[in-house]
């Protein structure tokens, strides 16, 4: 993640330097014809901006390709390590299904039958946890004994010492058991963004330890567990295993919170908020709460904003006032106001009281404007500076600000009465000489909208003049916020969805998701695991395949969208 961010910054700076060479200078217009030419200037400026963005995107692509070839080295190293692991698995010749181990008879070294296996406990190894203990069912009692004391196991389990000298203890609350906590439960598939049910668990020997490597969600596991796997050889159609690597799933059970004491649900917390929102669609309210509870409120806020209205409704209904207030605080006032009017009008007073005063008054102000009005969509985080300030001063001022707006594409210049007078784009801000005042460097702007305009009007203006954002002013010309094109995009998309004129097919949605998701490295890796596991299952393993798969991964990596 961090390296990604750095590469973005680099590509931005490169983009700027290229722009510099082929960019026509924007001439400051004379005062008399200012008004008429302003709009023209502004449009030309913005179409410039669009071109620049296209250039930037090209550059980014090249950059990321370079970066990829660097990380390729790293990836190949990782993969070869994984392949070594797999090689180990191969040596031991098989994958052991948990369902086969369950209820196995246990004997001690003297050949005395001591009981049956009831469960296996796992521990450690964040990628592939190893089996640490087994739960023995003996004379109606459950005893936990260490796995280390198991000598062999094939069709039954033989301990390496007489039963009397085996270390024994009772099950503890923080033991994690495969049958109790994983088997038959629902888990989150972090790659597929789906909730899946565990039909079986695959274990294997890695470096002489019995480790969990994947869970199985295929129908073959169902037949296996019902003891009718032999039928499958008669059935004409193919029923296969569908393993999902252990390190890409996230258990959902409450009791499993203890596995990840420090970071609850680490795999889900790596996901983009939009992906989590998609996941929330499939979860029950209680499961959603489990995931939401440990989250920081700013992340919760971003996820909440990405959710479908029905999901928002049910989440908000279940949140306590205090927590909800905290989450709403982290949103921009317009988003918070929209959520409140949509879902929790009845709690408005309590919520506002629980928030910090400043934010509460900002949100309250939003209620003054009608629901479809510009104010409800504007971003009230922006940088507005007086026109008398020099570039140097402005830079120092901006740097000293405690927080910065999420989207920062320029400086909005105002006069002493806070009346909006013009825009200074980020580009011109950097290019201008340090002693120049903002007033002289800016493009005097007249293109703005008023707070109570309907949002549809802004849509028209923004598309007509090819703008990326537009300032919002009140009746006195004071600047109150910014409308970004992404808000307009949301409005347009929402409306289209309501009209159902744009109905994406399941495949299109899938494709969209695939493309937008951050492709982390292990996506390709997990594909490989699946492939290898399938191969391991086949009767005659071909050795040369492994070399091929490294190449395949390399190729995948090269093609993977950033």
């Amino acid at each position: 993640m961090r390296s990604r961010a750095r590469s973005d910054v680099q590509s931005v700076s490169t983009g700027m330097s290229i722009e510099q060479s082929n960019q026509p200078s924007t001439s400051p217009s004379s005062d008399t014809t200012q008004r008429s030419t302003n709009a023209k200037n502004l449009t030309s400026y913005y179409s410039e901006e669009n071109k620049k963005i296209r250039n930037l995107m090209e550059l980014k692509k090249i950059k990321s390709n370079i970066k990829k070839s660097q990380s390729d080295f790293h990836a190949v190293k990782e993969i070869s390590k994984f392949l070594r692991d797999i090689e180990d698995i191969k040596k031991s010749q098989k994958i052991i299904y948990f369902s086969r181990i369950m209820h196995m008879q246990v004997f001690d070294v003297t050949g005395m039958r001591v009981g049956r296996i009831k469960d296996l406990a796992i521990s450690g190894g964040d990628r592939f946890p190893e089996v640490s203990h087994l739960l023995l069912h003996r004379r109606r009692k459950d005893i936990v004994i260490p796995w280390k004391q198991v000598k062999t196991f094939n069709t039954c389990i033989i301990l390496d010492r007489p039963f009397s000298s085996v270390e024994k203890r009772a099950a503890k609350d923080d033991d994690i058991f495969l049958n109790d906590h994983i088997m038959d439960k629902q888990v989150v598939d972090v790659n597929g963004l789906k909730v899946i049910r565990v039909n079986d668990i695959s274990l294997t020997h890695v470096q002489n330890r019995l480790s969990v490597i994947s869970i199985d969600i295929g129908s073959r596991a169902i037949f296996r567990r019902l003891g009718i796997e032999k039928i499958l050889s008669i059935i004409p159609f193919k029923v296969s295993d569908r393993p999902v690597p252990w390190d890409t799933v996230e258990p959902l059970t409450h009791s499993l919170e203890k596995i990840h004491l420090k970071v609850p649900c680490p795999r889900v917390s790596d996901l983009h908020p939009a992906d989590v929102a998609q996941l929330f669609d499939e979860l029950s309210t209680i499961e959603r709460d489990t995931l939401l509870k440990p989250m920081r409120s700013d992340r919760a806020a971003r996820i909440l904003l990405e959710c479908d209205p029905e999901v928002q409704e049910s989440i908000i209904k279940n949140l306590k006032h205090k927590r909800l207030a905290l989450i709403l605080e982290k949103m921009s006032p317009n988003d918070a106001a929209n959520l409140i009017t949509d879902h929790c009008k009845d709690r408005i007073d309590i919520l506002l009281k629980a928030m910090n005063k400043n934010r509460a008054s900002q949100i309250q102000e939003m209620f003054l404007y009608a629901k479809g009005s510009v104010a409800r969509y504007m971003d009230s985080e922006f940088i507005a500076l007086p026109q008398g300030m020099t570039i140097e001063e402005a830079l120092a001022h901006i740097r000293s600000l405690p927080t910065h707006p999420k989207l920062f594409d320029g400086i909005y210049v105002v006069d002493d009465d806070y009346v909006f007078v013009g825009i200074l784009s980020l580009k011109n801000f950097i290019l201008a000489s340090p002693q120049e005042t903002l007033g002289s460097a800016m493009i005097p702007g007249t293109l703005s909208v008023e707070v109570n305009y309907p949002i549809e009007l802004v849509e028209e203006i923004i598309t007509k003049y090819d703008l990326l954002s537009i300032p919002v002013i009140d009746g006195n010309g004071r600047i109150r916020g910014i409308i970004h094109i992404e808000e307009i995009l949301d409005v347009v998309l929402d409306r289209n969805q309501k009209n159902e004129s744009f109905e994406a097919t399941a495949e299109q949605k899938e494709e969209l998701r695939e493309n937008t998701r951050l492709k982390r490295y292990y996506t390709t890796l997990s594909k490989d695991i699946n492939k290898l596991m399938r191969e391991l299952e086949s009767v005659k393993p071909r050795k040369s395949e492994y070399i091929g798969s490294v190449d395949a991964v390399k190729k995948d990596l090269a093609q993977a969208p950033e």
């Binding site: 038959d184 439960k185 629902q186 899946i196 049910r197 567990r225 209680i286 279940n318 399941a506």
Partner: protein, 428 residues
């Protein structure tokens, strides 16, 4: 004029909006809807047969059945609210794949019987209208399939609820028939045991049709869908109780109407046309048409909801993808189940000279037989402190519900025995 009416309506709506009436309505629902689906053609037929064969003698069963219905549904609702999971889901997570698989297999078989009885109801209605079942059933089956796969479930539900107002006809008819109310009230509280195997078959049918196993899955899932939380438990209880009472009242009046109009005149219901005569006091010569309409409506909508509910439960338990918004390729098992239930259900009814009425009764008896199995698992689940926490069953609750379960099991054993030696209980 129209303006003032609109104004008036708007005024009322605003008023309700301010009070929490709609809030209540939005929580109340699953129980009422379940109750409405509960009175399907199988139900109407079983009640009619009960009334026409034994007059008021079976009226006493209504109160115990109502109590059992309330307790069991409350348990399902509570489990749904506390765990946020459906019944199939809970069984799978706590009893493993094997148990789930066989339970789901049983559920499919029993619900297939139910679907059969819905189509039998449609065919019977067609008989009265004079439409051949060879035309009506295929058309209905195709229509239902499209309704389920492409239609909006919410719309189906609404239309169905509105159409089930038809049951009011039975209530009016029962009152117009002028039964001797003193006798009726006395009969409600006096249990009778007639030692005949068909008496027990009908009792089993009454239990099975009123407390059908699929209802537990359906109710719990719709409560989970609503995302209710423990604070809503009291609303949900009110919902479940009112739904159960509606079911019981409808059952009561169907039995009374049949007892007065049919039993008193020595008519035993053997065909749907005879069952229709129970509506004579209300509709006179139109009784048959009214009855046929009700049967048809109940049949079509139950035949739509049952396969859907079955497919959802089974997929939930087995961990398969489900949902009508998924493509066939994404959720093959789900669509196979829906299609299979509808197609085979319709196909069997098309067999010439198949006894429609018997199918309806037998399917209800099958319900009654599966019921204790589901009940045992429900009871064990809702007594598990790990799952239910402080919301686990109370002691009195347990004693009553285990009692009910045992009684149903004993009845099932009785019934099975009497099937193998039919003369065992016939004393009369």
């Amino acid at each position: 004029m129209a303006d003032s009416v609109m104004k008036w309506i708007r005024g009322i709506r605003e008023k309700f909006d301010k009070t929490q009436f709609f809030m209540l309505l939005s929580i109340i629902g699953p129980g009422i809807i379940t109750a409405a689906v509960d009175n399907d053609p199988g139900g109407i037929t079983t009640y009619s047969v009960a009334g026409s064969h034994y007059g008021f003698l079976l009226l006493w069963t209504i109160i115990p059945i109502l109590i059992a219905l309330v307790l069991i549904q409350e348990m399902a609702a509570r489990m749904g609210i506390v765990t946020g999971k459906g019944l199939a889901d809970l069984i799978r997570e706590n009893y493993g794949l094997r148990v789930t698989f066989y339970l789901m297999l049983l559920l499919i078989i029993v619900n297939f019987g139910n679907v059969l009885s819905e189509f039998a109801g449609i065919a019977a209605a067609g008989d009265i209208f004079g439409i051949s079942k060879y035309i009506l059933i295929p058309i209905c089956a195709i229509g239902i399939w499209f309704l389920v796969v492409y239609g909006s479930y919410k719309v189906v539900e609404r239309v169905f609820l509105a159409a089930s107002l038809f049951y009011i006809a039975y209530i009016v008819s029962g009152i117009l028939a002028k039964p001797v109310w003193n006798t009726v009230l006395l009969q409600i509280v006096t249990p009778h045991l007639v030692m005949r195997s068909d008496y027990f078959v009908i009792i089993m049918g009454l239990i099975g049709t009123t407390i059908a196993p699929w209802m537990m899955f359906y109710l719990q899932s719709s409560i989970v869908e609503k995302g209710l939380k423990p604070a809503d438990l009291k609303y949900s209880r009110a919902d479940v109780i009112s739904g159960s009472i509606v079911t019981a009242i409808v059952a009561f009046f169907i039995i009374v109407a049949c007892a007065v109009t049919l039993y008193a005149n020595g008519i035993t219901v053997d065909t749907a046309g005879e069952a229709a005569k129970a509506l004579l006091p209300l509709a006179g010569t139109y009784a048959a048409l009214l009855f046929a309409f009700g049967l048809f409506n109940a049949g079509v909508f139950s035949a739509a909801i049952l396969p859907l509910s079955t497919a959802y439960s089974v997929c939930e338990g087995m961990g398969w993808e489900s949902g009508v918004n998924k493509k066939f390729r994404e959720a093959p098992q789900f669509y196979f189940l829906i299609t299979g239930l509808i197609v085979f259900g319709a196909a069997i009814i098309l067999i010439p000279r198949i006894p429609l009425l018997d199918i309806m009764i037998i399917s209800q008896v099958l319900n009654g037989i599966l019921l204790p199995v589901i009940l045992v698992y429900m009871l064990r689940l809702s007594n598990n402190r790990k799952i239910m926490g402080e919301y686990k069953n109370s002691r009195t609750f347990n004693i009553t519900t285990w009692g009910i379960t045992v009684i149903i099991i004993v009845l099932t054993v009785f019934l099975t025995l009497s099937y193998f030696s039919p003369n065992m209980f016939i004393f009369a």
